[in-house]
Subunit: 356 residues, 2 copies
Amino acid sequence: MTDLKNDTFLRALLREPVDYTPVWMMRQAGRYLPEYRETRAKAGSFMDLCRNPELACEVTIQPLERFPLDAAILFSDILTIPDAMGLGLYFTEGEGPRFERPVRSAADVERIGVPDPQNELRYVMDAVALIRKELGGRVPLIGFSGSPWTLATYMIEGGSTKNFANSKAMMFDRPDLMHDLLGKVADSVITYLNAQIESGAQAAMVFDTWGGVLTPGDYREFSLRYMERIVDGLKREADGRRVPVILFSKGAGQWLDRMAETGCDALGVDWTTDLSDARRLVQDKVALQGNLDPCTLYASPDRIRREVGRVLASYGSGSGHVFNLGHGIHPDVNPEHAAAMVEAVHELSKPYHAGH
Amino acid sequence: MTDLKNDTFLRALLREPVDYTPVWMMRQAGRYLPEYRETRAKAGSFMDLCRNPELACEVTIQPLERFPLDAAILFSDILTIPDAMGLGLYFTEGEGPRFERPVRSAADVERIGVPDPQNELRYVMDAVALIRKELGGRVPLIGFSGSPWTLATYMIEGGSTKNFANSKAMMFDRPDLMHDLLGKVADSVITYLNAQIESGAQAAMVFDTWGGVLTPGDYREFSLRYMERIVDGLKREADGRRVPVILFSKGAGQWLDRMAETGCDALGVDWTTDLSDARRLVQDKVALQGNLDPCTLYASPDRIRREVGRVLASYGSGSGHVFNLGHGIHPDVNPEHAAAMVEAVHELSKPYHAGH
């Protein structure tokens, strides 16, 4: 059995009764925190920080020391998998992540294998185990991965992109090759997330940052299908408890019903969809996570409180809601404003769970 | 009466019978055309090109010489209005448009007036009149403007932005000020578009590039409301013909029904929504313009043809569809691929209009 002192997050994901709406923030361990910036400076590069389990653990726990958050999330990057595949990840100032060897041809796809999480990704598993130990059951630990489509765009483009020229060209002209690549990435994600779960992750989240740049049909064929394969392939129990799986495609407000049919436990929802509409769309088959506009944290604490109230009201009564931002917290946000949000969620959500 | 030789575009916007689906491309006069790059080099800066009616006319007509497009669109920039308001527009390499004097305070908003289109924006009206003359009735000429919300974000941020930090902060903390600003911009857009119509524009389009970064409620309050005000304020007739108004909010697939209630004639639809769903949502109250994924033009001509067929089929039979990309054509697209798209639209659309 688990030693969890606060399992509100896990219960909400399974739509079991809770006393209040649990809350965490995407990128809660990040640049908006001065203590993060200090550890980051100590580590050297961003990837040095990811590859150092002690420092990754330190920054994972930092936001929990400041705010009464209901979950911790592994500090890492979605590009660890392509890096472990040998694509040569590096970061440039201003340009973001780059790969030395992008994937463009059939031979490139052929060369790619499924990385062994206990070998090339050992540093991630060590970080998960260490964080889990250091958390001491305070809150559950979320493991994560990028989605196959999202990872494939970085692998094909060789880094960040605005136009997705190469990935879309491959999708349109060489769908067979794209499917080969996505299949390999999906298998890698399954192995990777299962290893995180074995190492101590108590929930798993798949970030499909770029699913929303596809047409509805292409989304189903090139993104959703592979997330479904991941959901099917994951261990769903650890320590005698269910390990909930959360899928998050940014810009997917119109396809939440399809996503809810994958067998996942919860969906992340960005701020461009009302949770009331989202809840109707998924017919309470899954829990919903979100969805305060991350820019709300630029506003005054009073206004933040009002907007938190609005989001809570849009979900309405009953369990199945995990409060979060609709996207990662912006690096220039005042941490006091994040504190105001967390406090407001805990306070204002109680009436929605009264008498369960 | 008008001297139009090809009014298919105008008739489709009014859901009147047509023989084929008309087609044009957002940014059809642009960097993907070598002849555009030549004129641009001749002009000097991008704004020099916008401010020179002869050269603006030349680049407006260039794509019509290559492709049998069914509409021309004024070559200009959405930032002409804030520039005319005295904000000091300039362009930097790599960073895009910037304003010397961004709008941040109540005093800044106070200072702003409605520009006189026959004075500060005379160069736009001269370009419209010249293009209309040079077109000689080949196809209709579209005039355009940015939406108040979209223009306000540039004015407040002082240029392009990823996070909308200042605009969202003003929206949340000073909604009164934001509404003052949006009201002034909306009045300026009305005056500006009416002057374009008087100068010869035969349809008007409002580009709400950034409406999709808002929550549904904020979208209605801070973007849609002001587009509705514009629709109400526009001259809807010229040369004894109705002047159709098209609204386009990128990322607005979930709100098309609301947009259709503004009194506009047509809605632009990006590629993340199926036209069949969009058509159902707007209940055939308005025409729809779109929505090929602009990245499709990176694919082979054969594949482009198939995707054109898919978009035509998703709209289905009957008038009310103007074919377009779901967003502007990318600068690195091969013009031959644009030609393949235009040809496919004209050929493949005829069966959808048979026997009208």
